[in-house]
Amino acid sequence: MSEVILEMRNITKTFPGVKALDNVNFSVERGEIHALVGENGAGKSTLMKVLSGVYPHGTYEGEIFFEGKECRFSDIKHSEDIGIVIIHQELALIPFLSIAENIYLGNERQKNGVMNWRETVSGTRELLKKVGLYESPNTLITNIGVGKQQLVEIAKALSKEVKLLILDEPTASLNEHDSQALLALLLQLKANGISSVLISHKISEVSQVADSITILRDGATIETLDSHKDQISEDRIIRGMVGRDLTHRFPPREPNIGEVVFEVINWNVEHPIHPGRKVCDNINLTLRKGEVVGLSGLMGSGRTELAMSIFGRAYGRNIRGTVRKNGEEIDVSTISRAIKNGVAYATEDRKTYGLILIQDIKNNITLANLGDVTEGLVINTRKELRNTQDYRGKLNIKCSSILQKTLNLSGGNQQKVVLSKWLFANPDVLILDEPTRGIDVGAKYEIYTIINRLVTEGKSIILISSELPEILGICDRIYVMSEGKIAGEMLAKEASQEKIMKCIMSQEEVVA
């Protein structure tokens, strides 16, 4: 095919005690989309940090060649100057500045320190057109959604005359629709000769757009697959990542579903800042004992808002409606009452809302139910230790000790701590919001196994997820949400990705 634009040779990077990268070789051809996949901790991000100069020359071994010349980056600025731009998973935009100001931040259109606003705005307009974003350059970042913010990041990269674009999990927080738009944009950039490296956990996207796929495992290159030559199935990629066959991505379960235990009746929620705007519109749903019910829908369809408003009015205002457990109305007006009445909600954003990162595993697990390890006013440390050790074993939390800070755990293990916290609160109804977001295939499987075990023990689970295969693979029954309403309900065995998407679309048409 064409020439090689980037070549990384024998890259080795060690941190105290760990070899994060071990003789990794990685090369990208001009004008291709090259996917980089691997489990969490496989070394993808470290490799990209070496490439972009976050880890400067001299802190690693090996050589980097870009457009045939050897590069020794001293910082990010240096790598950006020659056309390598990285877009991180957590977007680096400033919320209260406009799109135009963000795009030219650090690279201002100016003369002697005075801003040239005309050029800033017109330049932004050009760039936005290129990425297919139709917003005014003066719109504040905070007023546009995550999907659009992602496009602004790409426009920002284009403003730097990018030759190689690195995207770290760009679709992790996007819905299906925005993800597709982003992938289409990547293909369009490719047509214009811009190469990209796509880091993603979503295998389906990778096989959809990538020209070649490099698989990393435990800090080493396992293989590079060429999607034009080989027939690459998703299972083939996963096998390379985990080093074993995952015959089932979802563990099997024999459903044993009982009576209705939980009902939400005529539930209405208004937006906390814009009163009168309905975020949840007359929602009714039921949940049976031992059942996993999926809540599917696009981002912004009101799934998280519904869950949080049920959980002690943690979201919204003017909340009206009833919640019943075992046929009787229960009080969920504050979070502690909701917990007391057997409802728990594990957040989609574990770092911001789920964990106290500076505290250890033990303190995090017992926080929502300290009463269980307390005598009088005093915490019984012995009992607390015994209980948390138990969960460490049951959920297979990988850590040096339960006194380890949660900050230093991997994403999958952090998620297990959040789950332990809510299991320790002993709820009957557990709402899991995107429990597998941003964690690797192996850890996902473990989380699914835990979900299965819980319902087998007689608990009931509401699973919110943006990944349709996950909803289809794990749930017994599915509600589809759209525009704050329940757009449809179906049994998982009768559902398919197409059926769910159709359901969402038909609701949107009705609204429009």
């Binding site: 979070i335 911001t352 106290i356 990162l357 500076i358 006013l377 005093v378 915490i379």
Partner: protein, 387 residues
């Protein structure tokens, strides 16, 4: 087996400030040619810092939640003024006055807590307002002049010593007995926690180090009590401080309340979503601060034997500095009561030592400022190094 060097490195944040305190004490003991540790001066040192330590205990809880209270100095002045006006001008009963003053302190805490916790006004602004309000009220109440002196009963709070039950001339036996009881209690607690840790396979320091540490602490406590026993014995206010330190250490480490305060400081949103009533908790920490400021206000007034319009001026800075020097984090969630107390003593010993040496107040401030900066830098540096 870990080497002593490694152990030292791992625990440097825990013991670092204590070691710094000892170094500073030794330094000034040498520089002042032994004056620092003379029984009279030691007693003075304690009395001079008692009100700072009392407030540091309350301030620590607020700092753990992630905020500060700037009004405590003014509250000290205001409560001193209230007590003086009631006792001196209106002949109120001393004990009734103490209760009323504490009550007013609690109300002040509720006032500030209300704005902070339920109206979501940043504490920095609420307490900055409080600083002005209560200083102004102090001036108004005292009509710009000092009010005093207090009756002996009231003075005893700050200037009295515990009674001696043994009557051994020239030596205060009760003090030594109390010191010994404290030592035994501390050793008992330490052995118990070590046993617990061993049971759960957690790391413990090797036996010789464990024994060494306890011998050192026992030696220090007994040495100090014997020194003070050779003067007038233990001051009342020291007992008050010890009781407060014990109670608040217990609250912070062992109770649900303490655990929740740390959780809230570590991540308020996560704590809230785990069912912690964060506004009420914040409210309570401010009420507590009001109470302790009132107590400190009375101790300070009793020590000066009068209420003055300027009383408590700038105390808030000493109190906040004590907490930070003692290892509390400015972003919340981290800090210990003992640390804050050690921090207060570091400031106190330097004040006292530099005064004995005749260093001018201007240079004292420069040096104290540098120490605060270096102490926090040391903490941050260690944190970064250990990842």
């Amino acid at each position: 087996m870990k080497t002593v060097k490694e152990l030292f490195k791992n625990n440097i944040r825990e013991y670092g400030m204590l070691i710094a305190l000892i170094v500073i004490m030794v330094l000034f003991q040498v520089l002042t040619k032994g004056t620092l540790m003379k029984p009279v001066n030691l007693t003075n040192l304690l009395l001079q810092n008692s009100y700072i330590i009392i407030m540091a205990v309350g301030m620590l809880l607020i700092i753990i939640t992630g905020w500060v209270d700037l009004s405590v100095g003014s509250v000290v002045g205001f409560i001193g003024a209230v007590a003086a006006v009631l006792i001196v001008r209106y002949d109120f009963n001393v004990y009734l006055t103490i209760l009323i003053s504490l009550g007013i302190g609690g109300l002040i805490g509720m006032w500030q807590g209300f704005w902070v916790a339920y109206q979501k006004i940043p504490p920095f602004i609420v307490t900055l307002a409080g600083m002005l309000i209560f200083r102004g009220l102090t001036l108004a109440l005292l009509e710009g002049e000092s009010v005093g002196p207090f009756p002996a009963e009231f003075q005893k709070i700050a200037a009295g010593f515990i009674p001696d039950f043994f009557n051994y001339p020239g030596f205060h036996v009760t003090s030594v007995v109390l010191g010994a009881i404290l030592c035994v209690a501390l050793i008992f607690l330490d052995i118990r926690s070590r046993k617990n840790n061993l049971k759960y396979d957690f790391e413990v320091s090797p036996m010789p180090l464990f024994i060494g540490k306890n011998v050192l602490i026992t030696g220090a406590i007994m040495g100090l009590t014997i020194l003070m026993a050779s003067y007038k014995g233990l001051p009342n206010v020291l007992i008050l401080m010890m009781v407060l330190i014990a109670i608040y250490t217990f609250i912070a480490d062992q109770t649900v309340l303490g655990r929740r305060i740390y959780a809230m400081g570590g991540n308020e949103k996560a704590a809230k979503l785990s069912g912690v009533n964060t506004p009420r908790l914040l409210f309570l920490t401010f009420v507590n601060m009001g109470l302790l400021s009132a107590l400190a206000g009375m101790v300070f007034a009793a020590r000066l034997n009068s209420a003055t319009p300027k009383a408590g001026n700038g105390f808030e800075l000493d109190v906040i500095a004590a907490c930070y020097i003692g290892g509390a984090s400015a972003s919340g969630g981290i800090g210990t009561v003992i640390g804050a107390v050690v921090g207060a003593f570091i400031m106190g010993v330097m004040n006292n030592g530099m005064s004995i040496l005749g260093i001018n107040i201007d240079w004292q401030q420069v040096i104290k400022g540098m120490v605060l900066l270096l102490a926090v830098f040391f903490d941050v540096y260690n944190k970064n190094k250990n990842g």
